[in-house]
Symmetry: C2
Subunit: 226 residues, 2 copies
Amino acid sequence: MNNNCEVCFYRSFLFDNLEKKEFALLSLARKEIDYKKGEIIVREGEKISDFLYLKEGLLKVYRTVGPRKEQIVGVAKPMDFVGLLSVFSKSNYQYSISTLEDSSVCAIPLDLVKQMVHSNGDFANTLLKKMSEMNDQILNARLDINLKNLRGRTAYILLMLSKEVYKSEKFDLPVSRKEIGELIDMRTENVIRILSEFRNDGIIKIEGKGIEIVDMERLEQISEFG
Amino acid sequence: MNNNCEVCFYRSFLFDNLEKKEFALLSLARKEIDYKKGEIIVREGEKISDFLYLKEGLLKVYRTVGPRKEQIVGVAKPMDFVGLLSVFSKSNYQYSISTLEDSSVCAIPLDLVKQMVHSNGDFANTLLKKMSEMNDQILNARLDINLKNLRGRTAYILLMLSKEVYKSEKFDLPVSRKEIGELIDMRTENVIRILSEFRNDGIIKIEGKGIEIVDMERLEQISEFG
DNA sequence: CGCGGCTTTGATGTTCATCAAGTAAAGTGG
DNA sequence: CCACTTTACTTGATGAACATCAAAGCCGCG
């Protein structure tokens, strides 16, 4: 909390344009909430009252499609503006959000954000930009995934986790095989099969949730071709 | 042109909040351009200089993925804000846009729009809302399509055209079978096959590009089940 | 310590892409 | 305006990719 806050906001690039007074208002109004891995932050259909910002951790945004099936829309890491998805268009959440890792989320009353958009033109433009970027990113990911075959998708998700989330070729999967499947539209069994294939081909090492990418180049080719 | 303009803008709900002066500025700066069916309005990679608004007609937004393959991102009808896709996040277009029917497009210098966002808080909030809606719509369409099988997708696209675009159960397809395939991720041959299937089952009538939905309820079930 | 969910592998079936081939329609140039 | 070329449409046959079903071991958790 506290002045920790300033560091956090500055890093976010979003609140740069705020005046001291506005910034103070924001710091005051915001709430920081810690979640354990696996907790649900928002449920589809709930009223939107806050603008959410992921300070630390990893989230999944998803919608429940059948009685027992989920479709993952995306994964959000710090600096991503999770809440930006439908915050300004709907009064209720379109998607559910849960934590894939222990996470800290900052909640800023939506009214306050709108008020700041109203009063601070620079902030409004920055927010537009951020929102546009976020949406582009999510949409492009979906479009890319649609073009790939299962091997390509599996490679894609491994590379995404390695490069964008953990920034290391060695990391622990934050999700189950089942969830990977939901994320890239494939069955659990095939996720497993293809991961094993990659292991047998010497492209990755697997130890439970632990993944090490051994042959990065080859994985990139597989993702590309898809 | 001329006072035609006022009617158009009022209908759009976007420019409601502008003051007289701003509105006049906008009316002055905007350019209206007419396109024939099949023309390309913007090409992937081109510099974004204007905010585009479809006044009349039908557009497709797409990206070229291979040497001879396109992936259609969405179809835009009047009142949709085509340009909203990556206008604020990138300086160059991520997607190409072409006309599916004769169309009139209004182009407003992007700088002017940003300036208005800056100076008019209500406008900024409205724009945020519009943009969010547009993105939700596109993303949801992709997510929905991904869940459906080929019959479901075909039903989905027919219903979309019937209900959202033409508002009639009888209409002419604005696109080729190939383009339908690109829009809902399937091969031309299968589009044809399934359309024929629907015809044989008495769900639709086909005459070249002409489509008539005979059994709406059944089509909705097929789309739903997916 | 036992139950339920996750993981893994194998066998089987379905869906859909691909290939092929022919007809119809729509441009294109002389 | 007609031959020519190209593009769109259509149907059938085949095969590959992927989903589904089944069964068993594993692990964490109450």
